[in-house]
């Protein structure tokens, strides 16, 4: 480790608080200390709108569906040292890229070729300032009176920048050399002039050079607009005043962040995710560990315990950090207009290099955003939730949420000849429908998108049928898929299509969570799993000509073939139906604590089945869907009895005024972690509470009716563990672990 150079070449770039900048470059640092509250509000609003205008300019000129519908871009405004002022409301995990790119450029480009008025730098290097090579970051310094006043920048996902696979992602790639090239920051615009030589070099390898050139112009125009508008503000209000507003935004956000941290005890919280198939035919799973330690006013995120980098599953530090900060913003800075700098000042990242989440060059990293990066966002949401659950601020505890839906993106890429005789290549965007997790106070949202893309939008079925030679038999929410819990996770959806207007469709797939779901929280059940299925030789066409649209797999006839998480050259013939569903969101809290009336309503509205109501929730519903009270009470008691093998204590406890909540079912009183339902002391505060619980192990498929036997996909034994209060039988926590793993110490308080 000591010989490692964290300069963005083999190792990722890591910066300290002090940057080594060439002495010739003067930074503007004068900031007005006192700004009247009206001028502040006017400038604040103007800065936000400049950033909006920056984004609008990109969308306008680019015209790319990637930014308009995929939101796979984000404009930002950073101060002279590359710390955030504003970051746009689009993909949140991109934040770490621009800031890192600016700092690297200040350190490694201020001497040669120098940073001057009118320059714009471009990079897509995942070890410096991009989440993967397709995301191209542009950063532009804004000068005022010869001093570098601030930076504007943006990131935009590109159609294709070359490499061995169209679109930039090759799941076969053993290393980065198979992928689109990495470009460390280059001065693409020099003193206001676009360098033709560099532009041609940049677009030369692309399969769609004109589009990449157009997007480049869009990104440049965005920077220009933002830069000019900032200069107008500087001319009107003075540099010191505008800088003062920027500092105040950062400082206010920091204060809000620290104030929230002050409500939380010091401690460490952990979560584990499982990543499948490093390459086609792999049949193995890998561990993605995330640990969050809070010490005073600092948060430390660590990837300790994560498996070594492997195949195409890797993510660089830039992506990993962005993934974590996406949820820090969403859960802790929602009222600070996402001024993420307020948090960055108090967050540290301790990484073990050479791992899935801190890959070293030349690992293949282009799939990171769809796979490991996405899963890290889910894990980040979970460790932050575990920490926030310990806050003594009830308002802050309303941000506690279980695992997000679609914690890995199910890529299903289609190609062939379309119904109009033209070749096409694309991948289905339906899974952006994802699902939102169960919260500490209400259910998640069925097909409610992701928490880090605030406006994820699924295409209409008609849109897909218009462009591709397919006919959807159905696209619908999957009842029972949302993780069970006191507050249920959002249901995911399933789609099924047959070829239409073509004789075959070629498919390739890439995803994870086919075998192992995402975790639940505080006794909530896990997510469901991702599934790709080909039903070969179905009767769909005959049924349809006879006036019946088949709307269930069972109605199709034919033979069911599971398509693995990474598969190529799958051919779908005219009578084959392709089915796909994605992982739902996780549940929150013991399902036996759910109000039976809510279960009944879910049943009446087709969100769960009667069987699952009984099995997961212990709720007995009559034919009409009404709760049978007495039977429900009896069944729930019996389930608790079975959990612990003895007569359960009544769950009548209430929190003492001095008790600190630690989780849905845990509290701290007098140095003991206790069950919140029956006051039973589980462990001293210095110990893992799980050791004081009754532990039971279940096969994964019992966690959700939509989970298959993991043996279909992987060799490892992953089990679903329950931790019960030994006295009352409350389900306090669940985990997904290899049978040899010790119970994860996911709540470890620091006691002075």
């Amino acid at each position: 480790m000591s010989s490692a150079r964290w300069d963005g070449r083999q190792y990722p770039y890591v910066y300290g608080r002090e940057l080594r900048i060439a002495p010739g470059l003067k930074l503007h640092t004068e900031a007005a200390e006192r700004i009247d509250p009206i001028t502040y509000e006017v400038i604040r609003h103007a800065l936000w709108n400049i950033n909006v205008e920056h984004g609008v300019t990109i969308m306008k000129i680019s015209g790319s569906p990637i930014c308009a519908y995929g939101h796979d871009f984000n404009p930002c405004l950073l101060d002279e040292k590359g710390d955030f002022v504003f970051f746009g409301p689009f993909l949140q995990y991109l934040s770490s890229a621009t800031s890192s790119a600016v700092k690297w450029t200040l350190e490694y480009r201020s001497e040669n070729p120098g940073i001057e008025e009118g320059d714009i730098f471009l990079t897509n290097d995942p070890w410096i300032g991009a989440t993967h090579q397709s995301d191209v970051t542009l950063i532009a310094p804004v000068f005022w009176d010869g001093e570098l006043f601030c930076w504007v920048g943006n990131t935009l996902h590109q159609w294709d920048l070359g490499g061995t696979a169209p679109g930039g992602f090759n799941p076969m790639a053993p290393d980065v050399y198979w992928e689109a090239g990495c470009i460390p920051p280059i001065k693409i615009v020099e003193r206001g002039r676009l360098r033709r030589d560099l532009e041609e070099e940049y677009i030369r390898r692309s399969r769609m050079p004109e589009l990449v050139a157009l997007d480049l112009r869009a990104e440049i125009a965005g920077c220009h607009v933002a830069r000019e508008r900032i200069k107008q503000l500087l001319a009107r209000y003075g540099a010191a005043t505008v800088k003062g507003v920027m500092r105040k935004l950062q400082d206010d956000s920091e204060r809000a962040f620290v104030r929230r941290l002050e409500t939380i005890p010091d401690g460490t919280w952990r979560e584990v995710g499982w990543v499948e198939w490093a390459h086609p035919d792999d049949r193995h799973v890998y561990r993605n560990c995330l640990t969050l330690t809070k010490r005073g006013d600092r948060l430390i995120f660590s990837n300790e315990g994560t498996d070594p980098q492997a195949g195409t599953l890797n993510c660089t530090l830039v992506g990993w950090r962005g993934a974590i900060m996406a949820m820090v913003s969403a859960q802790m800075l929602f009222d600070q207009m996402f001024v993420v700098e307020g948090a960055y000042r108090h967050v540290e990242f301790e990484v073990q290099p050479g791992t899935l989440t801190c890959a070293l060059f030349p690992a293949a990293v282009s799939a990171a955003p769809a796979l490991t990066l996405l899963q890290t966002i889910a894990l980040s949401g979970l460790v932050i939730s575990k920490m926030l659950a310990c806050s003594n601020d009830p308002e802050l505890r309303t941000e506690v949420q279980s695992c997000m839906g679609a914690p890995m993106y199910p890529i299903a890429a289609l190609n062939g000849v379309n119904q109009r005789g033209a070749p096409y290549v694309s991948f289905l965007l339906d899974p952006v429908g994802a699902a939102l997790a169960g919260l500490s106070w209400r259910d998640g949202v069925d097909t409610g998108g992701w928490p880090w893309d605030l406006q994820s939008t699924m295409p209409n079925v008609e849109e897909s049928e218009w462009f591709y030679p397919i006919l959807y038999l159905w696209r619908r929410e999957l009842p029972d898929s949302g993780g069970a819990g006191k507050f249920r996770g959002g249901n995911a959806a399933e789609l099924a299509f047959i070829p239409h207007g073509t004789d075959r469709v070629s498919l390739f797939t890439a995803t994870g969570h086919c075998a192992v779901p995402g975790p639940g929280l505080f006794g909530g059940f896990p997510t469901s799993t991702t599934r790709y299925v080909l039903v070969r030789g179905t009767d769909a066409r005959e049924l349809m000509s006879a006036g019946r649209v088949p709307d269930r797999t069972e109605a199709l006839g034919g033979t069911v073939e599971l398509v693995p998480p990474k598969a190529f050259h799958i051919v779908q013939n005219p009578n084959d139906v392709f089915l796909m569903s994605w992982a739902s969101a996780g549940g929150y809290g013991d399902p036996l604590q759910r109000d039976p009336e809510w279960v009944a309503e879910d049943y009446r509205e087709g969100r769960i089945t009667r069987e699952w109501a009984r099995q997961a929730y212990g709720v007995v519903l009559d034919e009409a869907g009404a709760v049978v009270r007495s039977e429900t009470e009896r069944l729930r008691l019996e389930m608790r009895r079975q959990r612990i093998g003895s007569e359960p204590k009544p769950q009548t406890a209430t929190d003492e005024p001095e008790a600190r909540p630690l989780a849905e079912g845990l509290k701290l009183t007098a140095g003991w972690i206790r069950c919140r339902y029956c006051d039973h002391p589980l462990a001293s505060a210095a110990e893992n509470y799980k050791l004081g619980c009754v532990q039971k192990r279940f096969p994964l498929q019992e966690a959700n009716p939509h989970i298959l036997d993991p043996k279909c996909y992987i060799e490892e034994d992953i089990e679903w563990r329950h931790y019960y209060c030994p006295k009352c039988g409350a389900l306090l926590q669940t985990e997904l672990a290899r049978s040899s793993d010790a119970p994860l110490w996911d709540l470890q308080l620091d006691l002075e």
Binding site: P37, Y40, E41, V42, R44, H45, A46, N49, E53, V56, T57, K60, I61, G63, S64, P65, W159, E210, L211, L214, R217, A221, A256, A330, F334, D335, M337, Q419, G433, A434, L436, L439, R442, V445, D446, T447, G448, G449, P451, L454, Q455, T457, N460, V461, E462, E465, L471, W474, R475, R476, E477, H500, M544, G547, R548, V549, D551, E605, G606, R607
Partner: protein
């Protein structure tokens, strides 16, 4: 000056009147607080009236406002109604039903396998249309209450593909069962929306026929009759919303119509649509959807009328009332329109004027953000009740109106023409609660609050114009609504605009009703079809003729004579692999290949004008995705009589009072003019204040006011 178009709607209506009798054209616009009425006689005399809205039964306020207007012409309501040629109306009954989610119990029949489209809401329903503060708070995202819950959605076997070919014939047994079940569930309306039903509506029609046989009086809507373009979620949402508000809206419209008839009215009742045109009551009873969000459309159409007369090709039309600030644009003489809207987190297709709204108005509350110590204004509003602190109805938090009063803009004894005495002390007390913690004096706080709200409005306008490809500096600002006159010069200056028009002067507060009076009957016909360049003139022509035939048929059925029919053709074009759709006008008559080449050029030209030079990605190829015919039926005279301009004479102020001017950094004894003392032709230099019965115009230092021949107040900024 242009001559006015005096066109008839129905000859029979004319013959029933005595020749020497004047005829009247009445527009009534129902708002949340007031019902506004503007009546024009056949000679161009215009009167306006305001009456409180009556939420229990809006038709009461409707006729009350008409009565007041009748009085001003020296008529009784019955006399006015008997002599009225055309009665036009803007209503919020449909919008309200949607906003309050109080509508009919609706059942939906849709394609087997796709019943969830409405519930999935393309996922984005969890956050669609949320203001930025809520959008950023993801733990608060949730989908709205379903308009049709899953237990009232029925799927039936049938399938049509993108080409319109029937892949699966309608399964009539399943359809019958679906209808029976929904009737058992006692639905009050049934929506029918099938995948690709707009390309081939055969199944939607068949099911409707079955519903009509089984339940003849039930409200039924087929998706293809409302909207004819791809996007099953937005189309289905439009259909169920039409059903949701249908029964309530039809009852209301029929009630108004019956009452008008009982008063002797014999002409048509025309209802304002969000698209900027009116439609006969019968059409609205069938398609109430098109009235949703029609509130601000009248004002923009009035602006368009005025802009045409004055020769302003680019106008930013701003409407600032008590709770909201609405902005619409007119570019190259045409109001910009949009084809979908989001309400209550539902996104649905409907032709409408492109009007954007923020929560900023006279009632916007001034407060302090505890963490940053910054002053904030809105979006929370004190509304009309209790209203600003100075209304003295119990609100103790300061609002923009309180700030305006404290700065001296408003006359406490002549607010709303003296109908409401303002309590300056109460405003002062309220403002102090914000000023003191911020270390400001009350005046600084009041001035600061107006600066903030004006900056926000300027930022909104800027965003809105830039997003649509325009530069605000190329526009003239029109300002109407009760609170606009006080702030328009300030936000115009922020934007770098040079001219502000307070249209109609005294009419400004009833501008929306006046606007309704200047509209045409309008219907939009669309055909979605993918055509790839080079376009085949014959095919394009064929598609347009189809749409035009439908348009003519409908307008004739509605009694519009042939010489009053105007049909406009448009093509929605885009580059392949790109998202921006640009609406390009297409010439009428026979289309040639030459026309098609010109169409391509016009598209590229407009594209680059909107999205920047070099942004046209011609290498990708061009597509037409949709053809549109806008059909207009001209309905009557518009505008008002021109007044002879007096010599540019000096007008004398009524009195003077202390007003605070931030440009001067101090108070100044400022001349105050009464509206009636400022005739056409008058010129007044700022600083000055003009008090009109329902609005106040603040002529800031560095601006000059003139009055044109129609009574429009024009402010020129230096």
């Amino acid at each position: 000056m242009r001559s006015e178009n005096v066109l008839s709607v129905s000859e029979s209506a004319r013959s029933s009147h005595a020749k020497e009798e004047r005829e009247y054209y009445c527009a009534v616009d129902t708002g949340g607080t007031f019902t506004d009425c503007v009546v024009r006689d056949s000679e161009g005399n215009v009167v306006f009236a305001k009456s409180p809205s009556t939420p229990g039964d809006f038709s009461e306020g409707f006729f009350a406002a008409l009565s007041v207007a009748a009085e001003r012409f020296g008529l009784t309501l019955t006399e006015l109604m008997a002599r009225t040629r055309v009665l036009l109306h803007g209503t919020t009954v449909g919008t309200n039903a949607m906003v309050e989610m109080k509508g009919a119990r609706v059942g939906l029949i849709t394609t087997r396998g796709h019943g969830d489209a409405l519930l999935i809401m393309r996922s984005v329903g969890r956050s669609a249309g949320l203001p930025i503060e809520t959008l950023l708070h993801v733990s608060r995202h949730r989908k709205p209450e379903p308009i049709v819950p899953r237990h009232l959605i029925r799927e039936v076997s049938e399938r049509v593909d993108w080409r319109g070919e029937v892949v699966v014939p309608l399964n009539r047994d399943e359809a019958r069962r679906a209808i029976e079940e929904l009737l058992q569930q006692q639905v009050e309306a049934i929506a029918i929306a099938f995948l690709w039903g707009f390309v081939n509506p055969v199944h939607e029609r068949e099911v409707r026929h079955m519903v009509q046989e089984m339940a003849p009086d039930l409200f039924v809507t087929c998706a293809h009759e409302l909207i004819a373009k791809p996007g099953e979620y937005e189309r289905t949402a439009a259909t169920v919303i039409n059903c949701f508000i249908g029964p309530k809206t039809s009852r209301y419209v029929r009630r108004v119509e019956e009452r008008a008839r009982s008063l002797g009215y014999r002409g048509p009742l025309l209802i304002m649509q969000a698209s900027g045109g009116v439609a006969p009551a019968e059409e609205i009873v069938r398609a109430p959807l098109f009235t949703i969000g029609s509130g601000p459309a009248g004002g923009l159409m009035g602006s368009r009328f005025l802009a045409e007369r004055v020769g302003h090709s680019h106008v930013i039309a701003t409407d600032m009332g008590g709770t909201s600030f609405d902005v619409g644009l007119i570019a190259e003489g045409r109001p910009l329109s949009a084809s979908e809207t989001t309400l209550h987190q539902y996104t649905f297709f409907m032709p409408r004027l492109d009007i954007v709204s923020i929560g900023a108005g006279g009632g916007s509350i001034i407060w302090i953000d505890e963490l940053s110590g910054a002053m904030k204004v809105g979006p929370e509003s004190a509304g009309a009740d209790p209203g600003p602190a100075c209304y003295g109805r119990g609100n103790t938090r300061p609002t923009v109106t309180d700030a305006d009063l404290l700065l001296g803009y408003y006359n406490p004894d002549f607010f709303l023409g003296g109908r409401l005495a303002l309590d300056r002390e109460a405003a002062h007390r309220a403002m102090r609660t914000v000023a003191e913690p911020l270390g400001l004096d009350v005046l600084e706080a009041a001035d600061g609050a107006t600066r903030i709200v004006e900056a926000h409005m300027a930022d909104l306008i800027r965003q809105m114009t830039i997003q649509r490809g325009y530069d605000p500096r190329d526009f003239v600002i029109y300002a109407y609504g009760g609170a606009a006159g006080a702030h328009a010069v300030a936000y115009a200056r922020e934007l770098g605009c040079r001219t502000v028009v307070i249209p109609g002067g005294a009419l400004a507060s009833t501008w929306s009703a006046f606007g309704i009076l200047s509209t045409d009957i309008q219907h939009v016909y669309e055909k979605a079809e993918l055509l790839v360049a080079p376009f085949e003139a014959g095919r394009v022509m064929e598609l347009f003729l189809e749409l035009e035939e439908r348009a003519r048929r409908q307008l004739h059925e509605e009694g519009v004579p042939e010489d009053c029919v105007i049909l406009q053709r448009f093509a929605e074009m885009k580059f392949r692999l790109q998202i921006h759709r640009v609406e390009v006008p297409v010439p009428g008559g026979v289309l040639t290949d030459e026309n098609m080449r010109e169409l391509e050029q016009a598209f590229v030209q407009k594209y680059e004008a909107l999205y920047g030079r070099g942004s046209a990605f011609t290498a990708a190829g061009m597509e037409i995705g949709l053809l549109r015919v806008v059909a207009l039926g001209r309905i009557g005279p518009r505008g008002m009589k021109e007044v002879a301009l007096g010599r540019a004479r000096k007008v004398a102020p009524r009195w003077r009072r202390e007003v605070y001017w931030r440009e001067l950094g101090q108070h100044r004894r400022t001349p105050i003019f009464a509206g009636e003392d400022v005739p056409p032709g008058a010129t007044i230099e700022g600083p000055a204040i003009i008090e009109l019965p329902v609005t106040t115009i603040v002529v800031r230092p560095g601006s000059v006011l003139t009055v044109d021949a129609y009574g429009d107040f024009i402010l020129t900024l230096s």
